[in-house]
């Protein structure tokens, strides 16, 4: 298991290099020059060259990448072109908000999604199943910004239970977490339901019944355990998605976060900030996948054996 972990983490190194190269290069391929934003209209060519030299933009791409990567690995994410502040500081400010929101939304999706999925599978083709699956359809098709607006309208404006926007205190987290969590609940419930039904039809479950084990014990200890394997994979992939995909929700609730920072920086051609945000998202996806693989290995002795 330990050697697997080390191997798995080492494998992340080339992935990280590739991802970082793409993140670095892609920004040089999209139209628009950040230097234009810094120059006054009608500035001289020498002024432009001076600015380019200051940000290292006059050097070959490969050198720029090398310098950037070296700095990143030392925790220096560069300086924002717009605010002239260190990017690391900016990311450090918004990261806790994003992690809090994403983490809670993930927790909500897993717990509620699994419970609803189990309920639907148990009541297969009867009304609780139909109700849950109807909800799943709604939850996965309605856009989250719309759900967010409706929630604000009902619970903040009409009932006044939660603040309309902002990121102050726990009460301001409730609505955004629900808004992001709903899509996850729908996804997890659907996968759980199918996996539960599939597992419940397997031979070994029949034999567990034949052994006279109580049905509740068979459901929670045996069937659910096997059904969780695909669910864990889905949840792991969702970690990165939740951090980056929360952008519309962050906008609706006017919350600071990685998503809003990224969009703002893109609009302003603030390269270092965009790069840092994308890098954070890529790292989140990589760590999420790693976590998913580890959990899967812990749950399935066959996987554990295949990898050691």
């Amino acid at each position: 298991m330990l050697s697997y972990l080390i191997k798995r983490i080492l494998l992340l190194v080339p992935v990280f290099l590739a991802v970082s190269a793409v993140i670095f290069l892609i920004l040089h391929l999209i139209p628009g020059d950040p230097v234009d934003n810094l120059l006054k209209v009608g500035s001289s060519a020498s002024k432009r060259a001076e600015i380019e030299a200051r940000y290292g933009l006059d050097r070959p791409l490969i050198v720029q990448y090398g310098i950037w990567l070296g700095n990143v690995l030392q925790g220096d994410l560069g300086t924002s072109i717009v605010t002239r502040r260190p990017v690391a500081q900016l990311i450090g400010q918004v990261m806790p908000d994003s992690l809090q929101l994403g983490g809670l939304a993930l927790l909500l999706s897993s717990v509620a999604g699994v419970l609803l999925g189990v309920l639907a599978a148990k009541a297969r083709d009867r009304w609780p199943d139909r109700l849950v699956m109807g909800g799943v359809l709604l939850g996965s098709t309605l856009p989250s910004f719309w759900i967010g607006l409706i929630l604000i309208l009902v619970f903040s404006v009409q009932l006044g239970w939660f603040p309309v926007s902002g990121a102050r205190g726990w009460s301001s987290l409730v609505l955004p977490v629900i808004t992001i969590g709903l899509g996850g609940i729908a996804l997890v419930a659907r996968v759980t339901r199918v996996a539960m039904i599939d597992t419940a039809g397997r031979d070994f479950v029949l034999l567990l019944h034949a052994k006279g084990l109580p049905p509740g014990r068979i459901l929670w200890r045996h069937v659910l355990r096997h059904a969780m394997i695909p669910v864990v994979t889905i949840l792991a992939l969702r970690i990165g998605w939740i951090l980056g995909g929360a952008v519309t929700v962050e906008y609706v609730f006017a919350r600071p976060g990685l998503g809003t920072t990224l969009i703002k920086a893109l609009n302003q051609h603030d390269y270092p900030v965009v790069q840092a945000c994308l890098l954070m998202l890529a790292i989140a996806v990589m760590l999420g996948t790693l976590l998913g693989d580890i959990i899967q290995a812990l749950m399935d002795p066959r996987v554990r054996e295949a990898i050691t």
């Binding site: 397997r202 031979d203 070994f204 029949l206 034999l207 567990l208 019944h209 034949a210 052994k211 006279g212 084990l213 109580p214 045996h222 355990r225 096997h226 749950m299 399935d300 002795p301 066959r302 054996e305």
Partner: protein, 318 residues
């Protein structure tokens, strides 16, 4: 009588894949339940063990009397005190019968803990005794293995140990050797036969292999398309089959000295439960078919020579 099944019918919605099945099993006796795939053998087994609701079926008529109690009248939680404790099940495919994420020792232990109230240590001692009795070497090491680390024959022994751990009176074995190598098949069959004699168990052995039946069964019930064709003690049944289907099945057993290519098959296939024909369900494949077979259902009748027979034109007793 340990188990007495009378006029058992099973329904899935409007379809009735099993009708009017009757047979008995005594202690220390092996009943072979035979027939081709689709004849209703496994459904009979699941009906006796009360497992039909899991696959969406139900007992529509008849009785399953086990040691004086009609199991069809019991509620599910009462029935559960029989399953695994007094009636044990050995499934067809040992490859898929065990929970892949649980060590096999624990999977056996749970039976003695659940049904016999044994402690963790006591149950493990029972398990080790059983595995040793089943001639499994290094039983303690095997207990710590996961199913995928064991061979098919070993897994089937684990499933049998699971069945024995509740000290049952009746074992239902649904094609326990079909998924195994021929050499291992013989070992498992021999093992089951020995257990029945030693522990005075009843064994319901489901198989489509008449060779296995000839080896160890005391009594045989032949099913065809969800109905009973013939039931009789094994020796006279093999010596003088009365039902043409029984005779055809026996004709499918390869024998020493047979000319190559002379092994008989039965032309055609078992109809599906949704497409059962009127009259005798075997008539389309039967060499002795007459007009009556097409319209009139042959009712199983007790025969003076013993057993029951459902045929309008049985073979003559020689």
């Amino acid at each position: 009588m340990l188990l007495s099944v009378r006029d058992l019918s099973v329904r899935f919605g409007e379809v009735e894949p099993l009708s009017g099945i009757s047979f008995d099993i005594d202690r220390g006796e092996i009943l072979g339940l035979v027939g081709e795939s689709g004849s209703g053998k496994s459904l009979t087994a699941m009906a006796v063990a009360g497992l039909l609701p899991l696959v969406g079926g139900r007992i529509a008529a008849g009785s399953v009397t086990f040691d004086g109690t009609d199991l069809t009248r019991l509620a599910e939680d009462q029935l559960r005190t029989y399953r695994g404790r007094r009636i044990a099940f050995v499934t067809q495919n040992p490859m898929t019968a065990l929970d892949p994420a649980q060590r096999v020792g624990e999977q056996i232990d749970v039976v003695a803990r659940l049904h016999r109230g044994q402690s963790r240590q006591g149950a493990r001692a029972t398990t080790l005794d059983l595995l040793t009795a089943l001639r499994i070497p290094e039983a303690a090491a095997i207990c710590d293995a996961y199913p995928h680390q064991l061979s098919g024959g070993m897994k089937q022994r684990i499933v049998i140990a699971m069945a024995l751990a509740g000290e049952p009176d009746l074992i239902i074995a649904d094609e326990p050797t079909t998924a195994l190598d021929v050499t291992v098949q013989a070992q498992i069959i021999h093992l089951l036969g020995q257990l029945v004699r030693e522990r005075a168990l009843g064994l319901m052995l489901i198989t489509h292999d008449m060779g296995v039946v000839a080896q160890i069964c005391d009594r045989v019930a032949v099913l065809y398309a969800g109905r009973l064709a013939e039931t009789r003690a094994a020796a006279p049944l093999f010596a003088a089959p009365r039902h043409p289907y029984t005779a055809a099945l026996i004709g499918c057993i390869p024998r020493e000295g047979m000319a190559p290519g002379s092994l008989a098959g039965i032309p055609g296939a078992v109809p599906s439960a949704a497409a059962y024909s009127a009259g005798c369900r075997f008539h389309a494949r039967c060499a002795r078919m007459t007009g009556r077979c097409r319209t009139e259902v042959p009712v199983p009748a007790e025969r003076p020579e013993g057993g029951a027979l459902a045929c309008h034109n049985p073979l003559e007793v020689p």
